[in-house]
């Protein structure tokens, strides 16, 4: 068992009335498995992902429950030790490729950062590894990309750079928080294929967060459906998609326009 979340509850205390964003969520992931979390905005899917990655803001935030990752309980882990996992064992990519990269820092330096933080390598070794990963994410002109700045790349290319930066230190778990929402449909499909390839080749488990059920169906082995901070339904993605039990899931599926071309 790579990852196990037990009764996770997250409460915000920044304004008068404490707001519960995630209510006793329980999930589990095996090594090399692709698991999806589907839900609309405000369903708590991103919060759950951020808590696994240890990126929840410290102050005015109460967390209950446990998150076990490779035998370590992340919620109670001191920050110094959590930092050793971040980027090394757990990688993360985000929704907005346009703003998720440092605008005044070269791409190469940002891709190498996890190596700089977690590995004792020389400059050239780091550069080699970064370039190899830029090629693995199908950025053919990797030398030029290495030397360029974020604003010189398209959205799709930046997302690939994000994936390279997250994977460069060989993490066991990659968390993808709606990585394709801001991209064009054709680029979206390519990124999904890339994630599948990475999962097969490196046996990296992927926690895929999305609001698009049809996307999750193709990519993920298992899926959790979330609404207002709670897991409403979970199971194999085919079961959940073709014969959903909860009516909220049915409603989600019904909202996807059905195109049956066979009839004419």
């Amino acid at each position: 068992m790579l990852l196990e979340i037990k009764q996770l509850t997250i409460e915000f205390h920044d304004h008068l009335v404490p707001e519960t964003v995630v209510k006793n969520v329980t999930m589990s992931m095996e090594e090399g498995e692709i698991v999806g979390i589907v839900g609309e905005s405000g369903s708590g899917k991103s919060m759950t992902a951020l808590s696994v990655a240890g990126l929840l803001p410290r102050k005015d935030m109460k967390k209950k429950g446990e998150i076990w990752f490779e035998g370590q309980e992340l919620l109670s882990l001191p920050r110094k030790e959590l930092r050793l996992l971040q980027g090394d064992e757990i990688g993360m990519i985000f929704q907005e490729p346009m703003t998720a990269l440092n605008p005044t820092m070269k791409i190469g330096k940002q891709v190498e950062e996890s190596l700089y933080l977690h590995r004792d390598l020389s400059r050239t070794e780091r550069r080699e590894l970064a370039l190899s990963w830029l090629e693995k994410v199908e950025l053919n002109d990797s030398e030029r990309v290495y030397e360029s700045y974020p604003h010189e790349l398209s959205g799709g290319m930046r997302q690939r750079v994000m994936i390279a930066a997250a994977m460069v230190a060989g993490p066991k778990l990659l968390i993808a928080d709606e990585p394709t929402t801001a991209l064009d449909v054709t680029v979206q499909a390519q990124i999904i294929q890339l994630l599948k390839k990475i999962n097969e080749k490196n046996n990296t488990a992927i926690l895929f967060i999305s609001h698009d059920l049809s996307l999750v169906k193709d990519l993920c082995d298992r899926v959790y459906v979330m609404k207002d901070g709670e897991v409403v339904e979970h199971g194999k993605s085919e079961d959940v998609f073709y014969h959903p039990m909860e009516d909220y899931t049915k409603q989600l599926i019904a909202a996807i326009p059905v195109i049956d071309l066979e009839q004419d």
Binding site: E40, S41, G155, D184, V185, T186, Q188, A189, H211, D212, S214, L215, D218, Q251, L252, A255, I256, P257, I259, L261, D264
Partner: protein
């Protein structure tokens, strides 16, 4: 049915800072719309969909080509619900503004019209003196549609009206647009990158790529047997083929 919009060989280019040559955005785009028709304009970002809309409404200068639009007061609904409503004004002020421009109605008359439009777009009257910042994305998009309806347009250009909304709310807003279309014989130029939603919504669909029309046709035939390679790729990526 007579034609309300005819675009022939439209060419548009933008000047670029620092570079001498102008960036060609639209090349020889021709399309036409009949009264009460819903035409879909599909394409990815940077394909020039919004530029066509702005050219039709005369918001940007065009290099060549002719646009004959004999639809009365064409209106537009924008993609980003957070920037399409004036944040400093209340809902009722926003809805009354088109009336202040067009008709000589008294304040009371205007408020009556606002109430009737609010019903049409499925919102309660108590939203009247709320500010846009207090509304959800779906409510704001309905207000945009309401404002457009106030000018009683014959043509409504909807530039990705639902792509910023949640799936369930998208369906409701599209349903609203469809019902208004039927009731008022309103022609809609529906701009989107989501081929799935366009399938049920549009009578005809035009595929656009890098400012050029790739293919055009009824959704059923276009999706079933696309002639162009790019259309096939679009359908495949959207998981339709």
């Amino acid at each position: 049915m007579e034609e309300i919009l005819k675009v022939e060989k439209l060419n548009v280019s933008f000047a670029q800072s620092l570079k001498k040559n102008r960036k060609q955005v639209l090349t020889d785009v021709s399309l036409s719309m009949k009264k009460g028709e819903i035409l879909g304009l599909a394409g990815e970002s940077g394909s020039g969909k919004t530029t066509i809309a702005k050219a039709i409404l005369g918001m940007i200068p065009i290099d060549q080509g002719t646009i004959t639009c004999n639809a009365r007061t064409p209106q537009m609904v924008f993609q980003d619900p957070y920037s399409s409503l004036n944040p400093a004004k209340t809902v009722s002020w926003i809805l009354q503004e088109p009336l202040r421009m067009k008709t000589k109605e008294t304040a009371a008359g205007r408020v009556e019209k606002v109430k009737s439009v609010l019903h049409q777009i499925g919102l309660e009257e108590n939203l009247m003196n709320r500010k846009p910042s207090e509304l959800s994305g779906g409510q704001r998009q309905r207000i945009c549609i309401g404002t457009a309806l106030m000018s009683e347009p014959e043509l409504l250009i909807a530039d990705e009206p639902v792509s910023a909304l949640d799936v369930t709310i998208q369906a409701q807003v599209l349903q609203l647009l469809k019902s208004i279309h039927e009731k008022k014989q309103l022609a809609i130029l529906f701009i989107s990158h989501d081929l799935r939603t366009m399938y049920q919504f549009c009578d005809r669909i035009v595929i656009l790529r890098n400012g050029q029309i790739v293919e055009e046709g009824k959704p059923s035939t276009l999706y079933a047997s696309p002639k162009e390679e790019y259309t096939r790729l679009l359908l495949q990526s959207a998981g339709i083929r």
